[in-house]
């Protein structure tokens, strides 16, 4: 009896022990599997990181959502991504600058070389008398154009490197605009351009950097005169609830649809009418200056009907 009971107890204990051992083995196997999986995951991550280290900035860690390593992987991806974006941004500016330099050397070289051609002709006595004077005049014009280009360039570089200091002060924009236009009147007459001005007869003080504002308006008017072949120009200022809108429009030959999206890009020159080709800096400076006033510039153009630049500045 006693013995039987004892063996039963022992058997029971052995059973329990066996179960415990079995459970332990299962746990160990699971743990091993888990550890191996983590190791495999980590190995994978290390491989990818090595690839990134080698310079493959676009590589990302792909991982299942509920993995132990997913949280850390997502973080790594996020960091690589933000650095990659920064590098791409830097590369782009660098590329743009290189492009700028190549274009510039061309833009300087062409007028300078032709200018030398005229001077050579004058100096070697190929032309004389009236023709000689004419040549000298041409050279003078070319030189002035070059200077203007270099001035613009200088402006642009200063703007680009944030070196320009703005002096914002409360200015009557109506009065200022009128004064700018007055200086243009002789030139309008000379070019037989009708001028229509629609500026309220009151005062409107807004924060402006006077020099920049003058440059913006002057550039837009000059563009209309030089490039558009128009015979009338309208300048209008409208005050709305929280901004003031300056509209400068002409009835010249306008800007084609293909060119329109790019005209504010630096060094973009419309393909047509190269004879009076600009230097591709003016409008990009204008845009930059408007931006500095926290404003906005838009353009609409229906060729040979109306081309309108619209600047809105906050009140």
């Amino acid at each position: 009896m006693n013995l039987e009971w004892r063996t039963k107890v022992i058997m029971n204990n052995v059973n329990i022990l066996l179960i415990i051992i079995a459970v332990l083995i299962i746990i160990i196997v699971c743990l091993l599997y888990y550890i191996l999986r983590i190791k495999k995951n980590l190995n994978n991550i290390v491989n990818i990181l090595n690839d990134i280290k080698k310079g493959n900035r676009n590589r990302k860690i792909l991982i299942k959502k509920n993995n132990v390593a997913s949280e850390i992987s997502f973080k790594i991806n996020e960091i690589t991504n933000s650095y990659n974006n920064e590098i791409i941004e830097l590369k782009k500016t660098d590329e743009a600058h290189k492009q700028l330099l190549t274009n510039l050397s061309h833009d300087v070289k062409t007028p300078l070389t032709s200018l030398i051609g005229y001077l050579d002709a004058v100096c070697s006595g190929v032309v004389e008398g009236k023709e000689k004077d004419e040549y000298i005049n041409i050279v003078r014009n070319k030189a002035y154009n070059l200077k203007e280009f270099v001035d613009m360039l200088f402006q642009w570089f200063k703007l680009d490197s944030n070196e320009i200091v703005f002096y914002f002060e409360k200015t009557d924009i109506y009065e200022l605009t009128r004064n700018i236009i007055i200086d243009w009147i002789p030139i309008f007459e000379e070019n037989k351009i009708k001028l229509k001005v629609d500026i309220p007869n009151s005062e409107l003080y807004i924060n402006l950097d006077v020099k920049s504002y003058e440059r913006i308006i002057n550039n837009l008017i000059q563009n209309a005169i030089v490039h558009s072949n128009c015979n009338s120009i309208n300048i209008k200022i409208i005050k709305s609830i929280n901004n003031v809108i300056i509209k400068i429009s002409d009835n010249g030959k306008g800007i084609s649809k293909d060119n329109l999206p790019y005209i504010f890009d630096r060094l973009y020159k419309c393909d047509m009418a190269r004879s009076k080709r600009g230097n591709g800096l003016g409008l990009s400076i204008v845009k930059e200056l408007v931006n500095c006033h926290k404003g906005n510039i838009l353009v609409n153009s229906t060729p040979n009907k109306q081309t309108e630049f619209q600047i809105s500045l906050p009140l």
Binding site: N56, R57, N58, R59, K60, I61, L62, I63, K64, K65, S73, F74, N77, E78, N81, N84, N85, I88, K92, H106, K109, T110, T113, S114, I116, G117, Y118, D120, A121, I138, R274, S275, K276, R277
Partner: protein, 307 residues
């Protein structure tokens, strides 16, 4: 060059006796858009399928990311995103649910991967609409969302704007261009529309009847597309004065001291040549360059045109 994302060597695919792709060697640069241009049946899709391992190549070699695709398939495919023909989705599930399945299969690169991908293509997250009710444009967008969800380094897109309306085409085009510019993702795209490839690709491969007729940098091609008169001569400065004075030509560029590019192509070349020569300028070469891209494609495809 090491920087090829895709490189094929003498890739050939035969269906029975018909040769679909013949000895094609393409080179896709890292971070650039490669456009495969060809008419329907030129072999564009077959090439893409072979690259993705969806069909086997009869002969030839394919390497992706500089590795042989056969030996490294497991590591390479997760780094590619692709749309080949119409993407396969479950018609009775919503877009989000469909993407969830793919996310589970492939893994993800960020927590909000699905929402992020849908945002990019302009589809709503958790929209109740099921896939079969989607418009063609939405289906195509979902396809793109799926292709970019795991942030691949390489995208393979087979006619991605097929069947989209004009506005959709412009949007997708812009989007693809941006992926390349803003993220430096390499893209292989196919199309039968010349203008589409023209606007997107950095490198163009022209396929015709399974043959790669030409593979060229788009900038080189574009140069041919501009109309101008090129003159090589002894003194550019002297010539510039004569051109301005005698021919009223102001629209020109001086490339260097011995070459001028004139953009007013209506001028009489013979006369220019004569006047320059009389003025003691040696003209070594004067030619009219006015091949348009379309003319060019016509020429290399043997007069048939491309689109």
């Amino acid at each position: 060059m090491k920087d090829y994302v895709i490189e094929t060597k003498n890739l050939t695919k035969k269906f029975d006796k018909q040769v679909a792709v013949n000895n094609v060697s393409i080179h896709v640069h890292k971070g650039k858009i490669y456009g495969l241009l060809g008419r329907n049946g030129a072999g564009k899709t077959t090439i893409m399928k072979m690259i993705l391992g969806l069909t086997s190549a009869t002969s030839g070699k394919i390497s992706v990311f500089g590795k042989n695709i056969k030996k490294n398939a497991k590591h390479i495919y997760p780094r590619i995103g692709a749309i080949i023909e119409t993407p396969g989705f479950y018609p009775n599930l919503t877009g989000t649910e469909n993407l969830k399945i793919f996310a589970k299969l492939r893994g993800i690169t960020r927590k909000d991967a699905i929402k992020h991908a849908l945002d990019i293509v302009g589809l709503k997250y958790n929209d109740k609409k099921i896939f079969s009710k989607y418009s063609l444009g939405m289906k195509q967008r979902l396809g793109i969302a799926n292709a970019i969800m795991h942030e691949p380094e390489l995208l393979i897109l087979d006619e991605p704007t097929n069947g989209l309306d004009p506005i959709g085409i412009v949007e997708i085009r812009k989007f693809i261009k941006n992926l390349c510019l803003e993220k430096e993702i390499s893209i292989l795209i196919s199309s039968h529309i010349l203008t589409e490839i023209e606007q997107l690709a950095d490198t163009i491969g022209i396929l015709h009847n399974g043959n790669l007729l030409e593979e060229s940098n788009y900038k080189d091609l574009k140069k041919r597309n501009r109309k101008y008169i090129m003159i090589n001569l002894s003194s550019a400065s002297k010539a510039a004065r004569i051109l301005e004075q005698q021919f009223n030509i102001f629209d020109y560029d001086i490339e260097d001291d011995t070459s001028i590019r004139i953009y007013e192509t209506d001028k009489d070349i013979a006369k220019i040549n004569k006047v320059l020569t009389i003025s003691n300028i040696e003209v070594s070469n004067i030619r009219n360059c006015n091949d348009s891209l379309e003319d060019y494609f016509k020429k290399i495809t043997g007069g048939e045109g491309i689109a």
